[in-house]
C-alpha cells in the first residue's frame, strides 16, 4: 500500500470495521458533513449515512452517555472527541458509566465503545486545547487507555479497540496526524495491551508513548553516534501497563528513564515509577528518571510552550548523565 498519513490510517481502520460490522458507528461533533476536524472520518458520511456517522450537537456529556446506552444495548459506538479535552465535560459519563457500570451492574452489561480523538500539546493552541488528559483518566476503573504513535500502530490499534468489548480511551496526538508510513496491504490488528520495543538496546530503558516516542528517537540518533545503546519502549497501553515487556527490559538495563508529555504530578510516569518500585526495585541501579512536561497549563507563547514539554536535547542529556556518568 502507498504511504499513508496517520489520520488516513485511522480512517481506514474505522471504514474497515464499519464495513465488517453494521453495529459499529461514529458519533461526535462535525464527524459527518465536515468529515472530522482532522479528517479522520472524511467521506464516511457519504458512504454510511447520517445514523452511522452521526453529527451531534455540542453536548459532550449527553452524547457520551448516549453512546454508553447504545453500547449497553448492543451497538459499538466510536465517539470522536473533536479535541479530547472537550470530553472533560463528559467526565462523569466516562468515569461512572463507561468505566464503572459493568462492574456495578454485576456483569449485566458490557460496554464496547471507543472514545478517540486528538490530545496532547499542539502548536500554540493554548491551554485548553493542549491538554494532557491521560493523567485525569488513568485511575478510572474499567477503562482501557491506549495511545497510538505511528500510522501502522494507529490503524491496527484502532481496529482492535473497536473490536474490544470494553470501553477504550484512545489517544491520538494532534501533532502526529500527518506522519507517513507504508502500511501493509493485508488486514492487520495490533494488540491493545502490548508495549512496543521500538529499539533494542542495553544501556538504559526509555519508556515513552505518543509524540514523545518521536522526540526520544530523535535524541537516540545523536546518542547512537556517541556510542550509547538505549532500549526504547513505546508503552502503547497506558492502562493497563505492559509490565512483562517493561520488566524484561529493566532486568536487562537496570536503568529507566520515563519520557512523557503528561503532567508530572499524578501523570502516567508517576504510576510507572510506582509500579517499578512495587515490582522491580531491586533491579534498579539508579532512581528512575522522570522527564515529564511541566505542571502548568500549556502557555500560548511559543517559547514558554517549548519549555513546558520535554525536548530531545533533555532526553539526550538524561541518557548521558545516567549512562555515562553512571549516576
Amino acid at each position: 500500500m502507498a504511504e499513508t498519513l496517520l489520520f488516513n490510517a485511522l480512517r481506514q481502520a474505522i471504514d474497515e470495521e464499519m464495513q465488517r460490522d453494521p453495529t459499529v458507528f461514529v458519533l461526535g461533533e462535525d464527524v459527518g458533513h465536515y468529515g472530522g476536524s482532522y479528517k479522520v472520518t472524511k467521506d464516511l458520511y457519504d458512504k454510511y449515512g447520517e445514523l452511522r456517522v452521526l453529527d451531534t450537537p455540542i453536548a459532550e456529556n449527553s452524547f457520551t452517555g448516549m453512546a454508553v446506552g447504545a453500547a449497553m444495548t448492543g451497538l459499538r459506538p466510536i465517539i470522536e472527541g473533536m479535541n479530547m479535552g472537550f470530553l472533560l465535560l463528559a467526565f462523569n459519563q466516562i468515569a461512572n458509566n463507561a468505566g464503572m457500570l459493568r462492574y456495578t451492574s454485576g456483569g449485566n452489561f458490557k460496554i464496547p465503545m471507543v472514545i478517540r480523538g486528538p490530545g496532547g500539546v499542539g502548536r500554540q493552541l493554548g491551554a485548553e486545547h493542549s491538554q494532557r488528559l491521560e493523567a485525569y483518566f488513568q485511575a478510572v476503573p474499567g477503562l482501557k487507555i491506549v495511545a497510538c504513535s505511528t500510522p501502522y500502530n494507529a490503524k491496527g490499534l484502532l481496529k482492535s479497540a473497536i473490536r474490544d468489548n470494553n470501553p477504550v480511551l484512545f489517544f491520538e496526538h494532534v501533532l502526529l496526524y500527518n506522519l507517513k508510513e507504508d502500511l501493509p496491504d493485508h488486514e492487520y490488528l495490533v494488540p491493545l495491551d502490548k508495549a512496543e520495543v521500538v529499539r533494542r538496546g542495553s544501556d538504559v530503558t526509555i519508556l515513552t508513548y505518543s509524540r514523545m516516542r518521536h522526540h526520544v528517537l530523535q535524541a537516540v540518533k545523536n546518542l547512537e553516534k556517541q556510542g550509547f545503546d538505549p532500549e526504547v519502549i513505546d508503552l502503547i497501553s497506558l492502562k493497563p501497563l505492559d509490565f512483562e515487556t517493561i520488566g524484561q527490559s529493566i532486568c536487562k538495563t537496570h536503568r529507566v528513564i520515563v519520557v512523557e508529555e503528561c503532567m508530572k504530578t499524578g501523570g502516567v510516569g508517576a504510576e510507572i515509577i510506582a509500579s517499578i518500585n512495587d515490582r522491580f526495585f531491586d533491579e534498579l541501579d539508579a532512581p528512575v528518571l522522570r522527564l515529564s512536561s511541566q505542571d502548568i497549563p500549556t502557555p500560548y507563547n511559543g517559547k514558554l510552550e517549548s519549555l513546558t514539554i520535554v525536548q530531545p536535547k533533555q532526553i539526550e542529556e538524561a541518557v548521558e548523565k545516567m549512562v555515562a556518568l553512571r549516576v
Binding site: 453494521p22 449527553s62 446506552g69 447504545a70 444495548t73 461512572n96 459493568r102 462492574y103 451492574s105 454485576g106
Partner: protein, 343 residues
C-alpha cells in the same frame, strides 16, 4: 404551603379497562407498595445499608407507564429504582437480594439499592447520580432507531422510558437529551416524577418555571402533565406516548404530579415538608384510589383485592427469605466483572 397546581382533567371512562388489566395494574402497585414497606423494615433491622430511597406514593407512575410498555421495551431509572425494577419484571426476590448485597441480587450484590440492573429485563439501571441515566436511556432509544433505519431491522420498534425527578430537570443533561431526542425523533418517553421536592429543595425554589411539561414546547416535542396519583390517567398518556414512539413519531415529555410519602431516603429526617402538605397528598394515595375505582366499576370485589394483597405479601416475604438465605458474593471474585471477558 404552596398552592397546588390544578390537575389536568381526566375521565377514566375514556380509557376502558378490562378486569384483567385492572388487576394486573393493582397487583403491580401493591407489589411496589409492600416491597418498599418491607425495605423500610429491613433497613431499620440492619439488613440493608447505604442510601435507600423508597417510592411510596408514586406507584401510579411506575405502574402506569411501564405496564403500558412491552417487556422488550427499555426502562431507565434513578437511585429511586426498586419499584421501576419490579414493574419492569425483575423478580422481587432478586431486587431484595440485591438490597441485601447477595450474589443472587439482580446486580449480583455489587450494585445495591441505587444500582439495580437487569439485562434480561431491559432494565438499564439504577443510576445514583442525578440525570446521568437520561443520556443512557437516549442511547437505548437511539439503538432502536439505528437497528430499524441503519440496519434495516423492521422489527426494531422498542421504546425506552426514562424516569427522573423534578430536581433533575434543572440539570443540563435533561435539556441536552430533549434536544437530541426531538432532533432525531427517538422512541423515548421522558417521565418526570414531579414529587415537588428534591431532598430538601422545594421545586419552586429550584426552578424559574415550575411547569416542567411546558419545557418540551421549545424543543418541538409534545409535553403533557398528568395526575401522577391516578394510575389510569398516567397509563393513558403513556399509551399515547408509547404509540407515538413506536411508530417513529418521536419522544414525549410526561410530567407526573406526584408525591413521595416518605422522606427522601431512609436517612432523611424529612423536616421541611409541612404536615398539611403531606396530609393533603396522603389523602390522594394512588393505591387506595385505584382500589375504590376497581370496586366502583365492579372490576373487582373486596375479596379479590384482598387475595391479591395476600399473594403479594407472600411474594415479598418470600423475597426476604430468599435474600436472607442467598449466599454472599465470593470474595475471590472481587475483580470479576471489571472487564467483559470476566462474564
Amino acid at each position: 404551603m404552596v398552592q397546588e397546581r390544578t390537575l389536568p382533567a381526566f375521565h377514566a371512562a375514556s380509557a376502558p379497562l378490562t378486569q384483567a388489566d385492572g388487576l394486573m395494574l393493582y397487583e403491580d402497585m401493591v407489589l411496589g407498595r409492600f416491597f418498599e414497606d418491607k425495605c423500610a423494615e429491613m433497613y431499620y433491622r440492619g439488613k440493608m445499608f447505604g442510601f435507600v430511597h423508597l417510592y411510596n406514593g408514586q406507584e401510579a407512575v411506575s405502574t402506569g407507564v411501564i405496564k403500558a410498555m412491552r417487556p422488550d421495551d427499555f426502562v431507565c431509572s434513578t437511585y429511586r429504582d426498586h419499584v421501576h425494577a419490579l414493574s419492569a419484571g425483575v423478580p422481587a426476590r432478586n431486587v431484595m437480594a440485591e438490597l441485601f448485597g447477595k450474589e443472587t441480587g439482580c446486580s449480583r450484590g455489587r450494585g445495591g439499592s441505587m444500582h439495580l440492573f437487569s439485562a434480561e429485563h431491559n432494565l438499564l439501571g439504577g443510576f445514583a447520580f442525578i440525570g446521568e441515566g437520561i443520556p443512557v436511556a437516549l442511547g437505548a432509544a437511539f439503538q432502536s432507531r439505528y437497528r430499524r433505519d441503519a440496519m434495516g431491522d423492521a422489527g426494531a420498534d422498542q421504546v425506552t422510558a426514562c424516569f427522573f425527578g423534578d430536581g433533575t430537570t434543572n440539570n443540563g443533561q435533561f435539556f441536552e437529551c430533549l434536544n437530541m431526542a426531538a432532533l432525531w425523533k427517538l422512541p423515548i418517553l421522558f417521565v418526570v416524577e414531579n414529587n415537588k421536592w428534591a431532598i430538601g429543595m422545594a421545586h419552586e425554589r429550584a426552578t424559574s418555571q415550575p411547569e416542567i411539561y411546558r419545557k418540551a414546547s421549545v424543543f418541538g416535542m409534545p409535553g403533557v402533565e398528568v395526575d401522577g396519583m391516578d394510575v389510569l390517567a398516567v397509563r393513558e398518556v403513556a399509551q399515547q406516548a408509547v404509540a407515538r414512539a413506536r411508530t417513529g413519531e418521536g419522544p414525549t415529555l410526561i410530567e407526573c404530579l406526584t408525591y413521595r410519602f416518605r422522606g427522601h431516603s431512609l436517612a432523611d429526617p424529612d423536616e421541611l415538608r409541612s404536615k398539611a402538605e403531606k396530609e393533603a397528598w396522603l389523602a390522594r394515595d394512588p393505591l387506595k384510589r385505584f382500589e375504590v375505582y376497581l370496586l366502583e366499576q365492579n372490576l373487582a370485589d373486596e375479596e379479590t383485592l384482598k387475595s391479591v394483597r395476600q399473594r403479594i405479601q407472600e411474594t415479598v416475604e418470600a423475597a426476604v427469605a430468599f435474600a436472607e438465605e442467598s449466599p454472599e458474593p465470593n470474595p475471590d471474585e472481587l475483580y470479576r466483572y471489571i472487564f467483559a471477558e470476566d462474564a
